[in-house]
């Protein structure tokens, strides 16, 4: 038996991080109408405060913060654990959540002539649910507890896709739901095998007991395949474009920026934390090859889109691809120093900067669509001059996606590029470069349209509130500022390992 897992001083914050939005969900059910929106004004800032507090606690302690739920130590009970990457992920989530909340205040407000309207109530509850689901996902250290968190996320994401209620969005939601269900069932099957082989579901205990036998490898591959379906990695990406493009703008922002990252986070947990050293060279190359295919296919398809929101959704498929380079480039190193390599930092930086910039981009696209009444790229000419702040938000987030300096995306992609050279896996470098060119192609195509002149003069634009434009812009600025973080702060991402 290993040392028992005990609660650390700031561990209670982890419980609050999950339960605070849950309390918001429950209260939303019984406060009808405008009450839910007011509730959001409390839930969002306090939730942000909790995320910052966790970050500070982890940074000051220099080690993982742990909470043993109900004082029942694993393997019998469940523990929550915040290490560097979970704290950073929580902060990113909190930033995107608050900006989305600010952005959605205009779109999902309670009309004054009804006691309670459908979409505002549903939207805010789903926002709380995504938040608690993501926090549970990054803090969980028990494979079944993580399954429940995954389902929480799924059940929040699916109704968000079809919030508009049109036929196309319901079709997209159904398809998403079926993919997600296959994904979670396969994950659950893997978890059952793990319990059958080791008698524990706790990730920490598992890492001490795990052995490279067939049952373990089958279990891990089943879990990975299931999670890949939820992450929409090529070739399991088919559900993503209609789902992310069909949701209302703040919903798309949450789905594209955060929800797909949740299942990716779990894949990293499995291979780096639960089963360190079990990822073979070939398997890591396979994951990265799928990522490379996603970058190329997603980028090429994005170039051919006629509608702005679909273009952004395809770009998400491509940008997710980069994340999978973390497997061959960081796991290839000898165990123990995997996370000290630059690929580890680069991969996470890519995740955070994509989350910030993609949320900003979907918000900007939403504002453009709202002002014009459509989002057909060919007819966007000149809108950038009428909505300069939105234009700036789109442009800055685009720079980060392409990887133009100075931006978070630039640092992330150049770190990954350097890692390919250092690891001698130059073949991935070509993909990163070609992917950057593709991203440049579709981003500058849109930017050109936005700034160009229109064939037909833009008739009447619906008014767009400045507050919502600034919400998008602030996220884009955050994505750029990520590029100015001193590299020393990447040590934070290694805390707890």
């Amino acid at each position: 038996m290993s040392t028992t897992i005990t609660t650390t001083a700031s561990g209670y914050l982890l419980v609050l991080a999950i339960m605070w939005p849950v309390a918001g969900i429950m209260l939303s059910f019984v406060t009808s109408g405008r009450g839910v929106e007011r509730l959001a004004c409390v839930v969002l800032p306090v939730g942000f405060g909790i995320a910052v507090a966790v970050l500070i606690a982890v940074a000051q302690g220099g080690q993982s913060q742990i909470y043993v739920v109900g004082d029942w130590a694993p393997p019998l009970g469940i523990a929550l654990r915040a290490d560097g990457i979970s704290a950073a992920m929580m902060l990113t989530t909190a930033i995107v959540m608050c900006a989305t909340g600010l952005f959605a205040q205009g779109e999902f407000s309670q009309p004054s002539d009804l006691p309670e309207a459908r979409s505002p109530v549903v939207f805010w509850v789903l926002l709380f649910a995504i938040w608690s689901g993501l926090n549970a996902l990054v803090l969980g250290s028990d494979l079944f507890n993580l399954y429940v968190a995954l389902e929480l996320l799924t059940f929040a994401a699916v109704p968000l896709v079809c919030l508009k209620g049109q036929k196309e969005t319901i079709e997209a939601a159904l398809r998403y739901m079926l993919f997600a269900l296959i994904g979670s069932v396969l994950y659950l099957l893997g978890a059952a095998m793990i319990y059958g082989a080791y008698g524990t579901l706790d990730i920490g205990l598992l890492s001490e007991r795990v052995r490279p036998d067939p049952a373990t490898l089958i279990a891990a591959s089943l879990m990975t395949v299931g999670l890949l379906a939820k992450t929409a990695l090529f070739p399991l990406h088919l559900w993503l474009p209609p789902a992310h493009a069909g949701a209302p703008a703040p919903g798309s922002a949450l789905l594209s920026a955060l929800v797909v990252k949740g299942s990716f986070f779990l894949i990293v947990r499995i291979w780096f934390d639960a089963m360190p050293g079990l990822l073979s060279f070939a398997a890591a190359q396979l994951l990265a090859a799928l990522g490379a295919a996603a970058i190329l296919v997603g980028g090429a398809l994005a170039l051919r889109q006629k509608r702005l929101k679909l273009l952004i959704a395809y770009s998400t498929i491509a940008q997710i691809g980069y994340l999978f380079f973390i497997f061959p480039l960081a796991a290839g190193l000898t165990a123990g120093i995997a996370w000290s390599g630059i690929a580890w930092t680069g991969g996470w930086l890519q995740l955070f900067s994509h989350a910030l910039s993609k949320a900003a981009m979907f918000m900007a696209a939403g504002l453009i669509a709202e002002a014009l009444g459509h989002d057909r790229i060919a007819e966007l000419g000149g809108i950038g001059r009428r909505l300069p702040i939105t234009m700036l938000a789109f442009g800055l987030s685009g720079l980060s996606l392409v990887g133009v300096p100075p931006s978070g995306g630039f640092v992330a992609k150049s770190l990954l590029l350097m890692a390919t050279v250092m690891e001698g896996q130059w073949w991935w470098a070509t993909v990163i470069i070609v992917g950057g060119l593709l991203a440049g192609g579709y981003i500058f195509m849109v930017l050109g349209r936005l700034l160009g002149s229109s064939a037909t003069p833009l008739a009447s634009l619906a008014p767009v509130s400045m507050r919502r434009e600034l919400a998008a812009l602030s996220l884009a600025i955050c994505a750029v500022l990520l590029g100015f973080l001193p590299l020393r702060s990447s040590d934070f991402l290694q805390i707890g390992r």
């Binding site: 979409s119 429940v148 699916v158 049109q166 739901m177 296959i182 095998m193 059958g196």
Partner: protein, 113 residues
């Protein structure tokens, strides 16, 4: 060969059948049925793990049993949500194809905008 192994093989077969149905059957409701078959196969596997872990005077390890109970409830929620999606989709499709619902569709579009 004992009963646990037997039901283990049974669960393997059910998982395969359910997954195949889920991928191949085109009708949404049949896909939902297949998902339930697949899910029950996975739960049965948990049951086999529990049975093999019989100890301390218990016929089966209680931890996997509790996980399955949680899983069955989640799986029912998923079925209910998926069924509601299918029914809503069918209703909207009928309104579009029959043309009769043009008026009500316009009204709903108005609702949603």
């Amino acid at each position: 060969m004992n009963s646990a192994t037997l039901f283990g093989l049974c669960s393997a077969a059910l998982v395969g059948l359910g997954l195949f149905g889920l991928i191949v059957r085109p009708e949404p409701l049949r896909k939902i049925l297949a998902f339930n078959l697949l899910g029950s196969g996975v739960f049965l596997f948990f049951g086999v793990v529990a049975r093999r872990g019989a100890a301390a005077g218990l016929g089966a390890d209680p931890v996997p049993q509790a996980l399955v109970i949680t899983g069955i409830v989640v799986s029912f929620s998923a079925t209910a949500l998926a069924v509601a999606l299918v029914l809503r989709l069918r209703k909207l499709t009928d309104e579009v194809t029959s043309g009769l619902g043009a008026a009500s569709k316009a009204q709903e579009d108005g609702d949603h905008s």
